[in-house]
């Protein structure tokens, strides 16, 4: 039930009274969404939508965090520590080493 789906805001309705609404495109499926909780979101932004309500504006910068974490692990590997992502970081047949943790 806590399903949240990211979609792109394609229109913000100028609400005169009541709740601010907008139109959100989920990869081709378009829905009317209540924007009251994320008034900072504008056309072109991505929002996380749950049961017809936008709950957050997805932070494009933070969205790279998962991949940055992996890249940083890769850089550790370049410093001679084990490398995630592929077998390239260590000789075939050697046992996996522990990362630089106690």
């Amino acid at each position: 039930m806590c399903l949240g789906v990211p979609g792109k805001v394609t229109r913000i309705d100028e609400a005169s009274i009541g709740m601010p609404m907008g139109t959100v495109d989920f990869g081709g499926v378009v829905k009317e969404v209540c924007m009251a909780y994320v008034p900072e979101a504008g056309v072109g932004d991505f929002v996380l939508v749950h049961v017809g309500f936008a709950l957050s504006r997805i932070d494009e910068e933070e969205a790279h965090q998962v991949f940055r974490t992996l890249a940083e692990m890769g850089e550790l590997a370049d410093l001679g520590l084990p490398r995630p992502g592929s077998a390239r970081g260590r000789e075939p047949g050697t046992a996996p080493e522990r990362a630089g943790r106690s």
């Binding site: 039930m1 399903l3 989920f26 049961v51 957050s56 998962v66 992996l70």
Partner: protein, 361 residues
């Protein structure tokens, strides 16, 4: 779809799996709170790819599963009234009550309709002024702002023919109940990213401190879960505890303050009965005094009789992470998604339905 597909990359998933494998030195038991996360873990086979040292137990984060059978019975009783147009999210319709589900009531002539958003129920109340429109307000903190807004809007519009049957539940008290149990086996939590999108994660900090446990706010895509598991394992291996946030693209520490303000306006915190678990103090919402007139249970004066659970169902143990669905003797035999005995087999977020759908027989 952007913000979905890239978090399903096999190459990056393998990188995380290797990182987890390199980090782990001994067995650990983690609980993912949210049933949506359970489904991702099983659908993508992550549970089977993780190192043997990791045991995942599935949390109570399925509102449909924890809604007490008495409340289903109340919903059915209200829905049967001739003046009532009863609305609900789809998941709730098939949950068996003592005698009938809402869908059973519909088949017997009740006007029961599925809605996508609680605002749809408000629209129905505006369209059908001669009917009593009741909305089954179920959900965790993720759904509460939507339900609260519907009530707030009904008040603003002065609707007299709209009410809600409230079955709201809150996550942190349930986590405390699990951690405080003498049988607890959970050593680290993946907290529910969408609950925290609304509420933030300040309220988890004292829990992490008190029980010296890592809690990692985690998203719902495969890479989110692998990242969250890696962060939790890293903390456990280093002997660290506290709250960390994996789902930074949606969650900030304070949550969504606008949503919190409406929740504060419309609801107040109350003790709540959890199906299969029991009563947990301060673990739910009821309508605040100023909105009490929208309480369907009071409006239709339905009785709250305790009802027995189906005797063959071990849903309570599953919801507390003490048994796996395939340890139930009814699993896949007497109990299937088509003919469910217990709620976790009905819900698209239930652990039993996940095990059944993805073949963990």
């Amino acid at each position: 779809m952007k913000f979905v597909d890239e978090y399903r990359s096999e190459e990056h998933a393998r990188a995380f799996l290797e990182a987890i494998q390199r980090t782990i030195t001994r067995p650990w038991t983690l609980m993912e709170i949210c049933g949506g996360q359970t489904h991702t873990l099983l659908k993508f086979g992550i549970d089977e790819l993780l190192p043997r040292e990791i045991t995942l137990v599935h949390g109570p984060g399925c509102p449909v599963c924890v809604t007490p059978i008495e409340l289903i019975d109340q919903a059915v009783e209200i829905a049967r009234r001739p003046e009532v147009l009863f609305t609900s999210f789809g998941d709730m319709l098939r949950v068996p009550g003592t005698r009938s589900s809402l869908l059973g009531a519909k088949a017997a002539g009740a006007d029961v309709r599925m809605v996508y958003s609680p605002l749809d129920a408000v629209s129905l109340a505006r369209q059908h002024k001669d009917r009593e429109v009741v909305f089954f307000a179920v959900g965790f903190e993720t759904t509460a702002p939507a339900n609260a807004m519907a009530i707030y809007e009904a008040a603003r519009l002065g609707l007299r023919n709209f009410s809600v049957l409230s079955a709201h539940v809150l996550v942190p008290p349930a986590m405390e109940a699990i951690l405080g149990s003498p049988d607890n086996i959970v050593q680290g939590f993946l907290a529910a990213g969408h609950v925290c999108t609304v509420m933030g994660y300040r309220e988890y900090e004292p829990i992490a401190e008190k029980y010296r446990i890592p809690i990692v706010v985690t998203g719902f895509e495969p890479l989110d879960l692998l990242h969250g598991i890696w962060m939790t394992i890293a903390a456990l291996e280093e002997g660290r505890w506290g709250v960390e946030n994996q789902y930074t693209r949606s969650v900030v520490r304070d949550g969504n303050l606008r949503a919190a303000a409406i929740l504060e306006e419309v609801f107040e915190v109350c003790d709540r009965q959890w199906r299969g678990v029991g009563s947990i103090p301060l673990s739910g919402y009821r309508l605040a005094r100023a909105y009490e007139r929208f309480d369907a249970a009071a409006r239709f004066a339905v009785a709250t009789e305790t009802a027995p659970e189906p005797s063959d169902c071990i849903a309570g143990l599953i919801l507390q992470g003490r048994k796996k669905p395939n340890e139930c003797r009814e699993f896949g035999a007497g109990c299937t998604p088509e003919h469910p005995i217990g709620a976790p087999m009905v819900s698209t977020e239930g652990a039993c339905s996940a095990y059944y759908l993805y073949g963990r027989r």
